[in-house]
Amino acid sequence: MKKMTVLISTLALVLSMSVTGFAADTIKLGVAGPHSGDLAPYGIPAMKAAQLVVKQINAKGGILGKQVELLIQDDQCKPEIATNTATKLVTDGAHVVLGHICSGATKAALGIYKDAKIPVMSPSATNPPLTQSGDYPNFFRTIASDDMQAKMAVEFAINKLGVKKVAVLHDKGDYGKGFADFAKKYLDESGKVEVVLFEGVTPGAMDYSSIVQKVRKNKAEALVFGGYHPEASKLVSQMSRKRLKTIFISDDGVKDDSFLKVAGDAANGSYVTGPRDLSSIPLNSAATAEFKAEYGAEPGAFFQEGYSAALALLTAIEKAGSTDYDAVTKVLRSEYVETPVGKIKFDSKGDAEGVGFSVYKVENGAFTELK
């Protein structure tokens, strides 16, 4: 008899749960990223950002009269796990997905979402072809792609500085050479500028006098360097020692206080690209404050981008009036939304307009953002 009661009550419980599950129609926001393993620090801030956004929205009564439900899945940044993660999210009925974090995992998962007609927004996958290839019309991102800074630096050199001959150097590393390759590509494509030199320098070499002389010989007006600050400071100090007036332009790896400190006066007049200064955006500091109040710590990597992505996705559903794929993606592409990374909308390929990099000029030993 007792057994029977237990069985019935269990059955009743299960039934009642599934009934409420069906009854309360929710908007399901999938969140995928590394939440365990060594890359977890890149995924957890975005997940927490989504939780904060959802909590806030639900407290205000949800979207379209429905509560938002989070479906959180761990992909460990591994492409083979990411496909499972994606399948799981699709089966669970996610309407939109925030993720994935790593470019490789994102690429692996995107096809599955595409077939299921689910818009996906990554706060961190910077691999350029994800948007530029046009293969994934369901993909958006709230971070600038890898080639954006090279594009930014090149456009700045051509349009603002008006240089005609440019030398491109790199430190032979993945990051530096990647930047230099894109810079060269955009310089060549512009048709207005001649790339007079494209070479790698050896990091840690005793001095760069021969390469500096080579830059002079080729009469380069600007030197675009891809790499990090130790080589950059060595280059600019040797340029000043050799009385070379070529304008030095570099990347985010150089936008570091060490560059100012080590290169000293020689750094003045250089330009570097770096992420836009977001601290003036009210939503940005509000999101940080919210995180600190909840968790008592600094947010961590891709928190702002994750926050923005969650906000952009949910706002788009609200504006579209449904979770219909075509309606949501149309809103994402046409309507601006206020986020912690600025007021953004997405271009036809899925990159956020107005997100990305600024050019900073080194003046009196400090980086000044050029608007």
């Binding site: 840690g204 070499a205 005793m206 006098s209 130790p230 100090s237």
Partner: protein, 300 residues
Amino acid sequence: MEYFLELFFGGLTRGSIYALIALGYTMVYGIIQLINFAHGEIYMIGAFVALIVAGVCTIYGLSGVSILILAGIIAVIYACAYGYTLEKVAYRPLRGAPRLSPLISAIGMSIFLQNYVLLAQTSDFLPFPRLIPDFLFMEPVAHIIGSPELVILITTFITMILLTLLIKKTKVGKAMRATQQDMNMARLVGVNVDRIISLTFVIGSALAAIGGVLVASYIGQVNFYIGFLAGVKAFTAAVLGGIGSIPGAVLGGLILGWAESFAAGYISSDYEDVFTFGLLVLILILRPAGLLGKSHKQKV
């Protein structure tokens, strides 16, 4: 022509620094057949000591050249102390041991010293003050050969002359040469071999420290890791010139410096190291003992 001169002097400057460091390798090898892998670290420590001294001097309001000289002297004294201690702690107890043991001990000391500086100082790059001022009379040719290059060349030149005099003309130098030729025989005729070996380490360290101070004030940055690459290059120079031979180390250093400079200038800096090490392989194939080295028959 101007471009050639620019590369020539760039290579000469770099090469003379290589030569300064290579001398330490070659002198030690000549006497105890040990490759002192910690030598590059002595160079780095010299630069760091100079940085600290320069910092203190600047507080007391001294000016460029006087700081350079003072920092140089103190760096040399410190480096000598390090060289002496290094030999005493890491190599002397292994004097009779198989040849591989001191070699491993040398690598160990190299790693130890690097990490010691890393922990005691920082892993960041530190700015090194421009101690060598820009002389006005050099201004018209500053893009070909500037004041720092001039100071480096003159200093290394004087240092090498002094070293040659020391080895050729003094009693100590005679004892060093004797020890190099035959350690046991030198001991029999009354040379204090242990002291001569210590002295060799001390002199080598002093040269490395001078190199370290000059380079640091030339390029304006120091880091705990700079000794490694400089050490590898200088060792290459020593082998190139014939390890154990003092003129060979100087020649090897200069050739290496020029090879790097011209390869980067006329061909591509992508392959700078490929050309220099290719050159090394080529010379070792043609002259296995190096350019000026003498090949000894080894009794196995």
